[in-house]
Symmetry: C2
Subunit: 258 residues, 2 copies
């Protein structure tokens, strides 16, 4: 059987330990090409580069894992996927995996996530895609605990196929492998961030802000990703890019619109 | 009756003609505060500024429309809304309007849109929100044709309330007011961009790319925003930020996951 072609990307940049771990795991499953940002792109959402130039640099063969073709790209995660699919890959990949992100992309964080924007971009272009995130923001996070789950999910996705126009958002709790209870298929929990802006004054006397915030879970459901993660499960949320709120159409049809 | 408080923002920047038009329209309806990017932010998706500082500058009273408080912000459209709601506004606004964007944000463009990311951010924080876009990319676009529709939609939204966790994505065709047939409540059309990267070589001999592309409509439905716009209607898509693909959960539950 022909080996699957796997496109690996992320938003923490091509040198991030989470991406390096994912590359090694994917090498066990198929042929791997990496196209990842040349610098961290966290919080980039689904940004694309419209008004500026894009560079793609082929990494030398002694960078990274042997036998893996790697490119660093000056753009956003979504740019990386576009460039990979249109310019850099010789054929359409069988799957695109993004991550492993350093930090959770559960619940509302999917909206801000560069990791998931790469996966969603692949999905829009008809490539099955999964974003993986470990609930540990540390650069030294231990990604080894996540291995078995990631391999299993990617293999099952290749076997069964991901439903059309759906991409998977997988978050892995910061637990030892043997402590993780399994994978739970979930819905996205309702949540938001209670922003706190840390206001400071720069040396020139001008005020500026740092964006900080506290995560606020607004959903007591036991079928959510936040519940799964808090209870020792890997969460898997099938995610779509048709944002239509069909349930709201009826109410708005009764407005007095011209 | 107390006048509604209206937050106005956009992604083309505080000086954009589309925003200036929207400010004047909103002044007829309520008290207006503007918090908008200090430079163009098109294609920013739902990016937020995590690793950098944010500046907000109160504009002088002779800038813009009289009686309107305006701030320019160094961040993304989503940053502008966060900063407005947490730091700059004295109370929660009754509605947030974003735009008028210079160019369409229909169908899949909602994913890349800074205009819509501002509206979605407001929605996440519990503020009713609408993004307005005119299907004309020109800086000199004629926004006057859109006036009556925008005023009507904002007033109806204030009267009826926008359904919870839903924001409105309104696109206006490039037609004269009398040619526009009315407002159609739609679903998001399935579409994508067939990317073409324009590859060039810089003066130093290094290759780079410009992202260009052709829009590809993959949806023949007559209930979509693309159909509405092509047939002379203003399109209004109720849009949600719960991305869960509920219809896909059942299939994935049958995978052999650990």
């Amino acid at each position: 059987m022909k080996k699957p072609l796997i496109l690996v990307t992320n938003d923490d940049g091509i040198t991030a330990p989470g991406l390096r771990s994912l590359v090694l795991l994917m090498k066990e499953i198929g042929d791997v090409v990496v196209v990842a940002p040349d610098s961290p792109q966290s919080g980039m959402g689904h940004a694309i580069t419209l008004d500026s130039t894009l560079y793609a640099t082929k990494m030398s063969s002694d960078f990274g894992a042997s036998g893996v073709e790697e490119y660093s790209c000056s753009g956003t995660p979504a740019d990386c996927v576009k460039l990979a699919l249109q310019e850099l890959l010789e054929r359409k990949p069988d799957i695109c995996v993004s991550g492993i992100n350093h930090g959770a992309n559960s619940s509302i964080n999917v909206i801000y996530s560069g990791t998931m924007s790469a996966a969603i971009e692949a999905g829009i272009e008809g490539v099955p895609a999964i974003g993986f995130s470990l609930c540990d923001y540390s650069w030294d996070a231990d990604f080894s605990q996540a291995k078995a789950f990631i391999t299993n999910i990617v293999k099952e996705a290749l076997d069964h196929g991901i439903p059309k126009d759906v991409v998977l958002n997988v978050n892995i709790p910061r637990l030892k492998t043997e402590e993780i209870k399994g994978v739970k298929i979930c819905r996205q929990a309702k949540a938001n961030w209670k922003e706190k802006f840390d206001k400071r004054t720069n040396p020139m006397g001008r005020d500026y802000y740092w964006l900080t915030g506290e995560f606020e879970l607004l959903d007591k459901g036991e079928d959510t990703d936040e519940w799964a993660l808090a209870n020792g499960y890997v969460s898997l949320v099938p995610t779509q890019f048709d944002l239509t709120a069909h349930h709201a159409i009826q109410a708005i049809n009764n407005w007095n619109l011209k």
